[in-house]
Each structure stands twice: as structure tokens, then as C-alpha cells.
């Protein structure tokens, strides 16, 4: 089937009609079914201006149609810059950045994690923050009369364990993207 088609015209034969309800149940996705495809979100989207891969209207359309795999496995849902311009303007109050968060949460549970986010998650697991605090920084802090910052943060790792994020990261779940 795939080979017979031109590469840039995707032909979809199977839709998952339950996907839109699944997204609507996820925190942030509640209003997705209000979308009437007016295009206001994409009109003002700064990311869409730079990269046509990210088109919030089309992503929502694909969710409503039920293209579950295509949406969750795509890297486009990770591209939203969460500037909330579309959120402010959407006449149907779809709350698009939060829909993207809902989609990301579902995607992660399904084993799709964008490599950039995986890298960030691993950094936070190790250091408790996005960057390593080196000895020089702590020396300076001591000079200024500030307390030292611990270099690791085992509590965060513990949270990862409790929430199941550690399993998702280590179980090879992120490997799909």
C-alpha cells in the first residue's frame, strides 16, 4: 500500500475513533472536541512560521480524526514553544499548549519520548537541575557567605522511581523516537 503512494500524500485507511475521547480525558485535553478548524492558532504561531512541521490546527485535526500512532510517534507534538498565543486567541477555548502537554503525556506512556526531552529528564535525575553545579560555583558561594549547593539530588531520583518515570527512561521506552 505504502509503496504505491506518493511519499508526500499520506493515505490513511485506519482511524481510531476513541482517540479524541482519550485525549479529552487527559488533563489539559478537555476542550479538544470544540475545535472547528478556523486556523487562528496556526495564523499566529511563531513556531509554524519557522517550521511547517509544526501546525497546531493540523495536529488537532489528526487527533479528532483518530490518527493515534501518527500523532503520538511524531516529533511535532514536542515542538510547541508554549508561548500561549494560540491559547489567548482560540475562539473555541481549545487551550492548544495544554492539549500538546496532554499528547506528550500519552506519548511518554506509550514509550515515545523526544530525545531532547529524554536528555533533559536524565540531567534532572542526576543533578536535580538542568545543569551540573561544579566546585568552582560552590567556592564562590562560600566566599559570598552563601551555603553550598549539593551536587547530586537523590530526592529527585526517588520521585522518578515513585512516579514510574525511572522505569520509562530505563526500560528502553524512549527508544521509539
Amino acid at each position: 500500500m505504502e509503496s504505491a503512494q506518493k511519499k508526500d500524500v499520506p493515505v490513511v485507511t485506519v482511524l481510531d475513533p476513541k482517540f479524541k475521547y482519550e485525549v479529552a480525558r487527559e488533563p489539559g485535553g478537555e476542550n479538544i472536541k470544540y475545535c472547528f478548524q478556523c486556523g487562528t492558532c496556526t495564523s499566529g504561531c511563531k513556531v509554524a512560521e519557522f517550521d511547517s512541521k509544526y501546525n497546531p490546527r493540523k495536529i488537532i485535526r489528526m487527533v479528532i480524526l483518530g490518527m493515534r500512532e501518527r500523532v503520538l510517534s511524531g516529533d511535532f507534538i514536542w515542538l510547541c514553544a508554549t508561548c500561549y498565543t494560540c491559547h489567548e486567541r482560540c475562539p473555541q477555548d481549545v487551550r492548544i499548549p495544554e492539549v500538546m502537554n496532554a499528547l506528550k503525556n500519552i506519548a511518554v506512556r506509550e514509550g515515545y519520548i523526544h530525545p531532547a526531552f529524554r536528555a533533559q529528564a536524565e540531567l534532572i535525575a542526576g543533578y536535580g537541575r538542568l545543569y551540573e553545579v561544579d566546585e568552582l560555583a560552590n567556592e564562590k558561594r562560600t566566599d559570598w557567605g552563601l551555603t553550598e549547593i549539593p551536587q547530586g539530588c537523590p530526592e529527585v531520583a526517588e520521585i522518578y522511581g515513585i512516579t514510574g518515570l525511572a522505569d520509562l527512561l530505563s526500560g528502553g521506552a524512549g527508544g521509539k523516537l
Binding site: Y34, F36, Q37, C38, G39, T40, C41, T42, S43, G44, A48, E49, S52, N55, R57, T85, C86, E88, R89, C90, P91, Q92, D93
Partner: protein
């Protein structure tokens, strides 16, 4: 014989009829179980279920039972009493029973329709409703209706095309009609339009003959520059207080020569021309105004604000200028009222991303009408407000203020002049219905006047349902208007005054980044200014959208829940001119039916006051929303007295009476208590 049957000294003999309403009720509620549960209730002699109780067969069955079983109370478990109470009351009356010995249990709207997903619970609830109705029916008392007089005259509120049409229909039937308009002239928004869709008729050319007809019809009295202050009474007998604002010009003497305008030294913004262009402090809104008399704007007149000038009085040869006019209240008695107060265009300052009020070349549909109108501020030349240039590229944006469930201005909309936060309203969830065709018409008019102009229309959906509408829209496409599916997020003003719009063109999949000389916002239609207070004065309900609620969405579209008050035009919901005129005709016919009656039967639902218990505390008088109960001094001290004609039977007095001296007829304490107890027993 019938009077003996309904004598309350007799034991109650009740017939219970449970209706299937096809599958409306029977599809959810186990009708047989409900019927059987009522069989052995106290006083019940016969129980039946019918597929359609309201049908001829169903009604005949009840009539036969009344005779055969000597019934003296009837309980019908079916739909809302709003639909069929009248039907069954008439049936009881024909069968020799007092019509108030009927009790209806609403097991459709209050039960099967709302509990469609739980059949068992719905059946239990239906049983409870039927049991409570039986309990109340046992205690029902026969009541006699009173007759009210009918004043065979009508008041039409609002002088737009709907009000004008309704008045002409009524005047033509020989019914004396008062047409009340708050502006100095009748005509409404239609008088501000240049052309109408889809025929491109000149709007005033078709409206002004009707306005002249109103002025000449001897049955119609126009009360311009007037507002409704208070409404009392009921169907057939309303007393309306109308506040007449001072024109400062004697309507009878003024011939509209215009000498006063030529000499008046005060220039102000012309509100009829949407504040584009100027007028004088003494003015006539437009040349075809009815009444054709001038009016002095007392906020701006030099004499009325500063005490000196009087130039207009000096130049008026007919002595029509009367500075000493004051506002006064006139009380008018009518039998029916038609409300036709129209709409208010949405103020796009509520959506600051489009820059209306900040960018001079962003205008609204109504601004456009004045700009392109021969009688407008630019004499029909489409000069953009920013620099009076004729735009070469014009964009229209649809659904501005319509089709949006999100709130608009979230606190950052600032007024260009005052810098203060704009109190503009949120956009509305509904489709305003006329904007697509207004834009199709205006885009066409741009092309017609300036064939070289580029015209673009940004839309979500084009809705062109109506006679000749789709054809007109296609004609526009043929003329070269470009329709772009995709709503822009914002308008940006460049340094050279051009307006930049970025949008997604859904049909090509491209992002379009285009510049325009002028942008027209297709503003939605919202409920008119002051409708909330007006509805309160008239005791009318509003729908969720803010417009006035009709009597029934399908079958009584020109009526209201209040007998004798009717609706016409956009005050009920946005509609175009032919629909407004059609509804005006329906409202006029309904009002004429009311006025043609010799008297009107009034439901006897008022309070009965036990003077022995009343202590004259005046609580009821203070709480009554209709001024229908007053405490008067009698030889036994101060006592409450009911004013029957004003009473609407709301029951506030009965509920609030501290000594229980007030009993509401047909809703007595014992009836309601019995009803509540019975339903609690089932639950």
C-alpha cells in the same frame, strides 16, 4: 349535577392517565408500572395509560370516564403543562368539571428526557411525580376565573424595520398603534445601511416609503425620542409609562427647512455616521427622518450647556425652537405590546488583537456602510479613515464577536483615546447569521465601485443559506473576490499605515503574510443596550445568548412567555430584513388576535388574605415585584389588600407572610405539603 361532583364535601374520585407520548416517555419510563403504582392510591378510581393522551381518542376516553366513574379530579402524567394544560382544562370544562380540578405530572421534560440513561430510576421518579400529583389533586378546589377588559390598542417598542412593519400591519387592520422609538427618528439600523443583500436594493429607498406610510397612517402615533419607563397590568390591559425626552424643537411647527443648522455654531462628531464626519448641535439624523423635525443635542448645545447663544431660535421663522421643553412621562393604556428593540453591533475593541479603535484603517461592517453610502461622511467615496485614500487592497475578517466560546478582551484591551481598559463585551458563542452575506455584499460593492481593487475575505465557514444568497456569493467569486478559509490571529499596523495579516490558508496549506490598505471586521450582532433592565421591566426572560426568549422555539417564535407581549426582529435573535419583517407580521397578527377579544379570562391565581390573621406588617407589600398587594388602613387596623389586575400569581406574598394570613389560590400550603410528602414517601 356537575357542581355536585366537584363539591369538596364529596370524597375525591380521581382518574389517573399516564401518557406514553409515543416513545418520548414510554421509551424510558415503564409506563405500565407507573400506572399500576397509582391504582390503589387514596381516592383513585380509575387508572389508564394512553399512547397519546392529547389525541382525540385519548381525550374522549377521559371524557367517558368522567361520566362513567363520576370523576371529580383528573391527574394526567404527560408533558409540561405549558404544552397541554389548556387542552385538558378545556376537556374538563366540556365534561362539566371545573377546569382547575386538573393536575398534571410532568414525566417527560422533568423525567424521561433528562433521565434517558437510567430507565429504572426514571420509572421510580415518574411514580413519585404521579403520587404527588394525586395527593395534591385530592385537595384541589374549584376556582372561578375573572374577566379582564381589553384595550384594543397596541404599543410597538422600537422603530426599526421590524417595528415599522408591525405598526403598518396593525394600522392597516384599523388598530390604534403607538410606535415608541428612543432615537430622534424611526428607521433603526436599516436606515444606516447603504444597500441590502442579495438584491443590492438601496436600503433607504425601500425603507423610507414605509417610514412615510407610518407618518401618514392615521392609526399610528409615533412617539420618537422616547423610552419605556414602566409597564404594569396584564394581557388586554397594560399601562405603559413612556418617558418623552425633550427635542427642544416643536415637531408640529418644524418644517425641516434647515436654516437653524446652517447657523448653529457647534460642530460635534456625527453618531449616525459612526463618528466619522460631523454634525451640528441642532440636527436631523438623516434627510428622510421621520418625524421630519430637527432635534437639539442638549449635551452639546451652547445655549443649553452655557446659557448663551439662541442663534437657532433667532433664525427659525416658524418659532419652532422651544428651549424650555422638559422630559415628561406619558401613561398609555394598551392591550398588547410588541417588543422590537433590535440589536447592538458587537464592539470589536473586545478583541484587541484586531486593533479596532487603535488602527484608523480597521473599521467595522457598519462603518463600511456609512463610508460607501452616498449620504455618508465621504459622499459614497470609499476613503479610508486614516488618510482619506481609496484603498487598493481590502480585507474582510468574518466572525468578529461571533462563534467564540472563549472570552475576548482579557484585561489588556486599552482605549486609544482614554488609555483606560475597554469595557467591551466578550464575543458570543452563536453565529450572528447575517455577517457572511453582509460581507459578500460589501466585498461585491468594493469590486463594483473599484474594479481594480483586490478584495480578500478571511472566513471560518461561509453561511449563505437563504433565497438567492448562494447565487450571490458565487457571483462574488466570479467577480474576483478571493475567499480565504482561515481566521487571522491578529492585525499589525506597519509604519506606512498598511495593515499586515498573517494567516494560514487552509486550502493551500500555506502561511499567508499579506498587507492591506483597509480591513473591515464583520462584527456580530449582540443584544441591544439596556435589554437586561428592559426585560426586567417587562418581566420577560432572556435566553442563554442574551436575546429575549420566545414563547416556544418552534411554534411560538413571535410570542413570549407573558401573554400579550410579542417579539419581532433581532431582539429575539439576529436575523436579516425579510425575516424581521415576517416576524413582525406574525407578532402583529398575534397582537391583533388579543385586541379583537371583548374580554380576557384571567387565571384566578392571586392571594386570599385572612384579615383576622393579617397584622399589616407590610412585608408582602415590600416584596411584591408587581406592586399588586398594598396595606390599607381599615377599621380593624392596617390590612393587606390584593390588587387583582396587577397580580401575576408568583406567590412571594404567600411564602413571606409571617402570620400565614395569605393563602395562594390553587397553590395552598396544604396542597403543596401533601404533594411534597407524597413524593418523599416514594423516594
Amino acid at each position: 349535577m356537575p357542581s355536585m361532583l366537584q363539591d369538596t364535601g364529596f370524597d375525591a374520585r380521581i382518574g389517573v392517565y399516564v401518557c406514553h407520548c409515543g416513545l418520548n416517555i414510554a421509551g424510558v419510563v415503564d409506563v405500565e408500572a407507573v400506572r399500576e403504582s397509582a391504582r390503589f392510591l387514596e381516592g383513585v378510581v380509575v387508572v389508564r395509560d394512553n399512547r397519546y393522551t392529547c389525541s382525540e381518542v385519548g381525550q374522549k376516553g377521559i371524557a367517558d370516564d368522567i361520566k362513567e366513574f363520576m370523576l371529580n379530579r383528573v391527574v394526567i402524567a404527560s408533558c409540561s403543562p405549558r404544552l397541554h394544560e389548556k387542552t385538558f382544562r378545556t376537556l374538563l370544562e366540556k365534561s362539566g368539571l371545573n377546569p382547575h380540578l386538573l393536575e398534571m405530572a410532568n414525566i417527560r421534560e422533568h423525567c424521561s428526557w433528562v433521565h434517558y440513561d437510567n430507565h429504572e430510576a426514571a420509572t421510580e421518579k415518574a411514580k413519585g411525580l404521579v403520587h404527588s400529583s394525586v395527593a395534591r389533586a385530592r385537595l384541589l378546589q374549584p376556582l372561578s376565573r375573572t374577566k379582564g377588559r381589553v384595550v384594543p390598542e397596541v404599543m410597538v417598542v422600537g422603530g426599526g424595520v421590524a417595528g415599522i412593519s408591525a405598526s403598518l400591519y396593525l394600522g392597516g387592520m384599523g388598530i390604534k398603534t403607538y410606535l415608541v422609538e428612543r432615537e430622534p427618528s424611526i428607521g433603526g439600523h436599516m436606515a444606516m445601511l447603504d444597500k441590502t443583500f442579495p438584491t443590492l436594493d438601496c436600503s433607504l429607498c425601500i425603507l423610507s416609503p414605509k417610514m412615510v406610510e407610518v407618518a401618514e397612517c392615521e392609526n399610528i402615533k409615533v412617539l420618537s425620542y422616547s423610552e419605556i419607563e414602566k409597564v404594569e397590568g396584564q394581557v388586554g390591559d397594560f399601562r405603559v409609562q413612556v418617558r418623552r425626552k425633550p427635542r427642544y424643537v416643536n415637531e408640529e411647527k418644524c418644517v425641516g427647512c434647515g436654516d437653524c443648522v446652517a447657523k448653529c455654531p457647534v460642530k460635534v462628531k456625527d453618531d449616525f455616521n459612526r463618528n466619522m464626519g460631523t454634525r451640528k448641535a441642532i440636527y436631523i439624523p438623516f434627510p428622510q427622518a421621520i418625524p421630519p423635525a430637527y432635534v437639539i443635542d442638549d449635551q452639546n448645545c451652547r445655549y443649553l450647556t452655557q446659557g448663551k447663544c439662541k442663534i437657532c431660535q433667532a433664525v427659525c421663522e416658524r418659532g419652532a425652537i422651544e428651549y424650555d421643553q422638559t422630559s415628561y412621562v406619558e401613561t398609555i393604556e394598551v392591550g398588547a405590546i410588541i417588543v422590537a428593540t433590535g440589536f447592538q453591533p458587537y464592539d470589536p475593541r473586545g478583541l484587541p488583537q484586531y486593533g479596532y479603535g487603535r488602527f484608523p484603517n480597521v473599521i467595522t461592517s457598519l462603518d463600511f456602510e456609512r463610508l460607501i453610502c452616498a449620504d455618508g461622511p465621504t459622499y459614497g467615496k470609499l476613503k479610508r479613515p486614516g488618510d482619506s485614500q481609496v484603498p487598493k487592497r481590502v480585507a474582510f475578517i468574518q466572525c468578529v464577536g461571533s462563534r467564540s466560546v472563549a472570552s475576548g478582551c482579557r484585561g489588556y484591551g486599552l482605549d486609544a483615546e482614554t488609555g483606560s481598559s475597554v469595557g467591551a463585551t466578550d464575543p458570543k458563542a452563536y453565529c450572528s447569521r447575517v455577517c457572511c452575506m453582509i460581507t459578500a455584499k460589501q466585498a461585491f460593492m468594493v469590486k463594483e465601485k473599484y474594479p481594480d481593487a483586490e478584495v480578500y475575505v478571511y472566513y471560518i465557514d461561509m453561511r449563505t443559506a437563504g433565497k438567492g444568497f448562494e447565487e450571490f456569493y458565487q457571483r462574488g467569486r466570479h467577480e474576483g473576490i478571493v475567499f480565504l478559509r482561515g481566521k487571522p490571529g491578529e492585525i499589525e499596523e506597519r509604519d506606512d499605515g498598511c495593515l499586515r495579516i498573517i494567516s494560514e490558508d487552509l486550502d493551500s496549506g500555506c502561511i499567508l503574510d499579506l498587507c492591506f490598505d483597509m480591513v473591515v471586521l464583520a462584527q456580530g450582532l449582540t443584544p441591544p443596550d439596556g435589554l437586561v433592565e428592559f426585560a426586567q421591566k417587562m418581566n420577560l426572560s432572556r435566553s442563554e445568548d442574551g436575546f429575549l426568549m420566545e414563547g416556544h422555539p418552534k411554534l411560538r417564535p413571535a410570542e413570549t412567555a407573558i401573554d400579550g407581549i410579542y417579539l419581532a426582529g433581532c431582539v429575539q435573535f439576529p436575523k436579516d430584513i425579510p425575516d424581521s419583517v415576517a416576524q413582525a407580521g406574525a407578532a402583529a397578527a398575534a397582537a391583533a388576535v388579543t385586541c379583537s377579544k371583548e374580554s380576557i379570562e384571567i387565571d384566578p391565581l392571586g392571594p386570599v388574605i385572612d384579615e383576622a390573621l393579617c397584622i399589616g406588617c407590610k412585608l408582602c407589600e415590600m416584596l411584591c415585584p408587581y406592586g399588586a398587594i398594598k396595606v390599607e388602613l381599615t377599621d380593624k387596623g392596617p390590612k393587606a389588600k390584593s390588587i387583582e389586575v396587577a397580580c401575576k400569581g408568583c406567590g412571594v406574598c404567600g411564602a413571606s407572610c409571617s402570620t400565614r394570613a395569605i393563602t395562594m389560590k390553587h397553590y395552598t400550603d396544604s396542597q403543596l405539603t401533601a404533594q411534597a410528602k407524597a413524593i418523599l414517601e416514594v423516594v
